[in-house]
């Protein structure tokens, strides 16, 4: 029983790693197309290691948004990782020495797997680390292959790489719109549509990169509004 659970965990971890590794190919290519070099791209995958923030950083830089706006956008997107580590901490009950490594492996995929097996602490830890390590290794291999491939191209626009960027963001957004309850889904879709509209209207008014940051106010506004409505029970 126990070894079959372990096998299942390892198999899941490997397939999640392969899937994210495949999309690291596109990250590597897009980062090069945005003007970063091979080692800057690889440094992001080795040390930042959180997909949406990495895509956002190179996307904003490539669009001429400037360093500060790019960093703030990446950090706002990465804020959910704090939430993940906060909720994982009582589930995994890690020793102090393991926390620095666990922190780096705290991403969407490893958190999801840790909660999937949260009935048992051992399984949960195993799921978290197996997924985290598998994604880390394959994400970095994928990044290297993608950026090496793209370095060979003369004009990234010719291959439609500039369109791969918004497509990548849409694919990252998608599971947040379709994977929860129907009320929650409608809210998420409403927030997404309004944010997109706000950003669109602001394109001609603000410096590149700032329309995206301004859209964060939609999330802030929506969470305050829905928070008030649901307050009565305390």
């Amino acid at each position: 029983m126990k070894s079959s659970t372990n096998r299942e965990i390892h198999l899941n971890a490997l397939s999640i790693g392969l899937a994210t590794g495949a999309y690291a190919l596109s990250f590597g290519a897009i980062s090069i197309a945005s003007g970063l070099d091979f080692w800057q791209t690889q440094t992001l995958s080795l040390f930042m290691f959180t997909g949406a923030s990495q895509f956002a950083l190179v996307g904003v830089l490539g669009a001429g948004g400037g360093a500060l706006v790019a960093v703030v956008t990446a950090l706002l997107l990465g804020a959910r990782n704090s939430l993940y580590s906060l909720s994982l901490s009582p589930v995994l009950q890690l020793r102090k020495g393991h926390i620095p490594v666990a922190a780096q492996l705290t991403i969407d995929e490893s958190t999801g797997m840790a909660f999937k097996y949260s009935d048992s602490r051992t399984s949960s830890r195993r799921a978290f680390f197996a997924t985290g390590i598998s994604v880390y290794v394959l994400w970095n291999i994928g990044t290297a292959l993608g950026s090496l491939g793209a370095s060979q191209l003369s004009d990234p626009g010719m291959l439609g790489l500039d369109a791969a960027i918004p497509a990548g963001f849409l694919a990252l957004l998608w599971p947040r719109l379709v994977n929860s309850s129907s009320t929650e889904n409608r809210r998420m879709i409403a927030v997404a549509v309004i944010s997109g509209l706000v950003a669109f209207l602001l394109i001609p008014m603000l410096r590149p990169g700032l329309p995206v940051l301004a859209s964060a106010l939609v999330a802030v506004g929506a969470s305050l509004m829905w928070g008030k409505k649901e307050q009565p029970c305390g």
Partner: protein, 102 residues
């Protein structure tokens, strides 16, 4: 560029670390939980729009929009991430090659 890469990497690492160091009671603040859940939705949606339509600080309707539409359809059909991105790139390149849109 290196400075940006290093500062951003350090910042996102500290974000990850933060949750392990804070007391768990922080999570009971519903407003914090809701806001961190909604932030990626807002930012990603805005990034989709800006990366599709913006050229510097101007709106442009070009072949990227075809790529995004193809990506949308691929996601409706539950295609995996890499397929979505590839289809968007290939369709955009094709439209440009035919010369329908810049």
């Amino acid at each position: 560029m290196w400075m940006t890469v290093i500062v951003a990497s350090l910042g996102t690492y500290l974000e990850k670390l933060l949750g392990y160091l804070l007391p768990h009671s922080f999570l009971e603040r519903e407003s914090i939980r809701r806001m961190t859940g909604l932030l990626p939705v807002s930012l990603l949606a805005a990034l989709v729009v800006v990366q599709t339509f913006a050229v510097e600080a101007a709106v442009s309707i070009d072949a990227r929009l075809i790529g995004l539409t193809v990506a949308f359809i691929a996601l409706l059909l539950r295609a995996p991430f890499i397929v979505v991105v590839l289809l968007a790139a290939v369709s955009t390149a094709l439209i440009r090659w035919i010369g329908w849109l810049p």
